[in-house]
């Protein structure tokens, strides 16, 4: 049924439809409305047998979820930015213990300087933690991905992080189709843990592992994630059959057949990019778009296949690694080695900087741009600050 909802409220309803047994909440902008929303649903009796716990930190939020999931109950939490960094040790722990919990990440920049607005620095900081990471393009997809996330997590026995752009999605009101409880129950069966704490069948979870076995454990985690590419596709397919929406999967392609330039991106900015591409194509250009849904596992082979016939791939991303540059860009460049496709890195939207259609249009049409574009950067500020910064750092002799 269609509702006009704030993204966070839509996500809260989707999570509640998945019948988690334990939900932990700690406030951090821009994720807070999500846990507020689920908390209200729990207290209003929409969610039976669900424990809603207000914790004292993000470290505790994920740790409580780890404990409840290890005790055999479907668990959920949400965070953003600094909160994700605060719980980083538990992020690794959840995947290491193969606990299929689900967490929403309301994407936000990381400080210092402190900044509450949207970019993907938080998600990128945990890209190698062993979690499955899915990016939503719209609020509808955010809802759909949460329904799929629990199923994927439990099939693979691996935690899933659903990345949703802070403010742009979490705080935007849109028309969203929220399925019925019956439909979701048919799609997502009750959770049956592979291993859990049980007084009738005692197990030890979380042993110390020596060099004799550790390498294999980590390698198997890698294999498991690579295998989950197929499961993510299967889940998206059964979602499509059940709900009639093409949500989830590895990535969404838009006019990529015969495209000379393909723009690759993550998250909500794909919508703006598609609009720009529509306008450009209407004037005779040949642009396509790939919006990645599954960032981890990285769908390397499929992506390579979709990009190999283009002349140029522009990677538009809302994060970069200081000291090297675009992150998704590097991964795609590595993927396309020995294939004659020019890869361009476009870093944009950092710390909530607006990404406008005109900026993108100009950028996409500039076929002689360098390989590293920082789109929307205020060159005046940079020029003013860079010269004294550089002269200062060069002062004096290096001992």
């Amino acid at each position: 049924m269609f509702h006009q909802l704030e993204g966070s409220q839509a996500i809260a309803r989707a999570v509640a439809l998945c019948r988690p047994g334990v939900i932990c909440a700690y406030p951090i902008t821009p994720q807070t409305h999500i846990v507020e929303g689920v908390g209200e649903l729990v207290r209003d009796g929409h969610l039976e047998h669900c424990e809603f716990i207000n914790v004292e930190s993000e470290m505790a939020a994920l740790s409580v979820a780890i404990g409840s999931q290890a005790a055999g109950v479907r668990s959920y939490t949400a965070t953003s930015s600094q909160g994700l960094l605060h719980m980083i040790e538990a992020v690794y722990n959840a995947s290491g213990l193969e606990l299929p919990l689900v967490m929403t990440l309301g994407n936000r920049a990381i400080g210092a300087p402190i900044n509450i607005w949207n970019d993907h620095s938080d998600a990128m900081s945990v890209r190698d933690t062993g979690w499955i990471m899915l990016f939503a393009e719209t609020n509808q997809e955010a809802v759909d991905l949460h329904l799929q996330a629990f199923l994927i997590a439990e099939k693979v026995s691996c935690p899933v992080m659903v990345c949703v752009d802070g403010f742009i999605l979490t705080h935007a009101y849109e028309r969203v189709d929220i399925p019925s409880q019956e439909e979701v129950d048919e799609f997502l069966p009750p959770y049956t843990p592979r291993v859990s704490l049980d007084v009738d069948d005692p197990v030890a979870i979380g042993a110390m592992v020596s060099p004799d076995y550790f390498f294999e454990v980590r390698y198997l985690a890698h294999r498991r994630q690579m295998d989950s590419l197929e499961i993510i596709c299967c889940v998206a397919e059964s979602f499509w059959k059940k709900f009639g929406r093409d949500s989830g999967g590895l990535f969404h392609e838009y006019h990529t057949d015969g495209a000379e330039t393909i723009v690759v991106t993550l998250g909500s900015v794909a919508g703006t990019i598609k609009d720009v591409v529509d306008e450009l194509n209407a004037s005779g250009e040949k642009f396509g778009v790939i919006a990645l849904t599954s960032y981890r596992p990285f769908p390397a082979d499929s992506l390579k296949n979709s990009l190999k016939n283009a002349a140029r791939a522009i990677v538009v991303e809302k994060a970069f690694a200081i000291g090297i540059g675009g992150i998704l860009f590097q991964e795609i460049e590595l993927l396309m080695k020995n294939i004659n496709v020019k890869i361009v890195s476009v870093v944009a939207g950092i710390g909530g900087r607006s990404i406008t259609k005109s900026m993108l249009r100009e950028c996409f049409l500039n076929k002689n741009s360098g390989e590293n574009v920082f789109l929307g950067l205020n060159e005046d500020i940079v020029a003013k600050e860079y010269v004294p910064m550089k002269s200062h750092s060069c002062e004096g002799n290096v001992p």
């Binding site: 334990v22 470290m59 740790s63 110390m208």
Partner: protein, 321 residues
């Protein structure tokens, strides 16, 4: 009850003296010879096991206890056991308890356990949060007064003037500063939780009784067990129990119980001894007895013991607060 355990003479036998004891922590683990923590953990978990008929789930913080008991593919625990991280055991236990509540399995009891580093320092936030929510968990701290697993570094539980690897005494420094350290049992009591107790492996009967009592109380409970460490404290491995008893007898480790923020009872010290009798056998205090050290140094610790005697009324027993 007596400060001197009477074994099985004249009283209820201890769980440990029962041939059918649960052996929650079985032999073959990698604990050091004379490890007080291994003894404390076995006594505590066995008592909880027997009281609940085996209906316990245990969450363990990182530390000696976790490392020596569960090194894959070996495991010394015969109870369901979960280890997550160093600083999050109370929160993980909160999650386990929440899962049990969600499934309507309230008869299964949850224990979280860790050393003093995990409890006093890195896990303090999570522990306070657990107390704040009055989550249905019994938290047991095995207090050996330093970070033993990493090689004896100072923790918030390290007593004043103790030598650790990060408080090495020299000519002008006598070990951990006198004004440092915290009283976690009292911090726990300040949260107003239903039950707080201190115990010692030098008094197993008392320890078992406190655990058996605490395990079935609803809400947050905290028990702190004094567990001497032969390696970290520097005494012969056969002396663990004796050292533990000396700590209680001199007043430096008061055994008491608190309910809802109030002290409700303490174990009297029948024949108090000077702290020197407890300090001298331990290498971590040897620098206090060198040639050029003023008697004042030992006096600092004696004052703490005297203060405990008064504060916890160790000279007599009170039945009601």
């Amino acid at each position: 009850m007596s400060n001197f355990p009477l074994g099985n003479i004249g009283g209820t036998p201890t769980v440990q003296s029962d041939f059918a004891r649960p052996n929650s922590l079985t032999g073959g683990h990698r604990g050091c010879q004379g490890c007080g923590e291994a003894l404390g953990a076995r006594c505590a978990i066995d008592a909880a096991h027997q009281t609940t008929g085996g209906k316990i789930l245990v969450v363990n913080a990182t530390g000696c206890l976790e490392v020596f008991s569960c090194c894959f593919p070996e495991n010394s625990w015969s109870v369901p056991w979960l280890h997550s991280l160093f600083g999050n055991a109370p929160a993980v236990a909160t999650g386990v308890a929440a899962a049990l509540r969600s499934r309507g399995q309230d008869s299964i009891r949850v224990i979280a356990q860790g050393g003093d580093g995990a409890t006093y320092d890195i896990g303090m936030g999570c522990l306070s949060g657990m107390f704040d929510r009055n989550d249905d968990v019994l938290y047991i701290c095995y207090d050996n007064q330093a970070y033993m697993n990493t090689g004896v570094q100072r923790s918030g539980a390290t007593p004043p003037l103790a030598r650790t690897a990060t408080t090495l005494p020299n000519k002008s420094y006598l070990g951990s500063d006198p004004q440092t350290g915290k009283n976690l049992p009292e911090i726990a009591m300040a949260h107003g939780i239903p039950y707080v107790a201190t115990a010692s492996i030098g008094n197993i009967r008392d320890l078992e009784q406190k655990v058996s009592r605490a395990i079935n109380i609803r809400g947050s409970r905290y028990i702190q067990i004094h567990v001497p460490c032969p390696l970290g404290w520097g005494y012969p491995t056969a002396e663990t129990i004796r050292i533990a008893r000396l700590a209680v007898q001199c007043g430096l480790y008061p055994l008491f119980e608190g309910e809802y923020g109030k002290l409700v009872g303490s174990t009297p010290v029948e024949e108090p001894i000077p702290v020197e009798s407890y300090l001298r056998p331990q290498r971590r205090f040897a620098h206090l007895f060198g040639k050029n050290v003023s008697a004042n140094a030992v006096g600092v610790l004696q004052n703490i013991a005297n203060g405990n005697m008064e504060k916890y009324r160790l000279n007599w027993e009170i039945l009601d607060a």
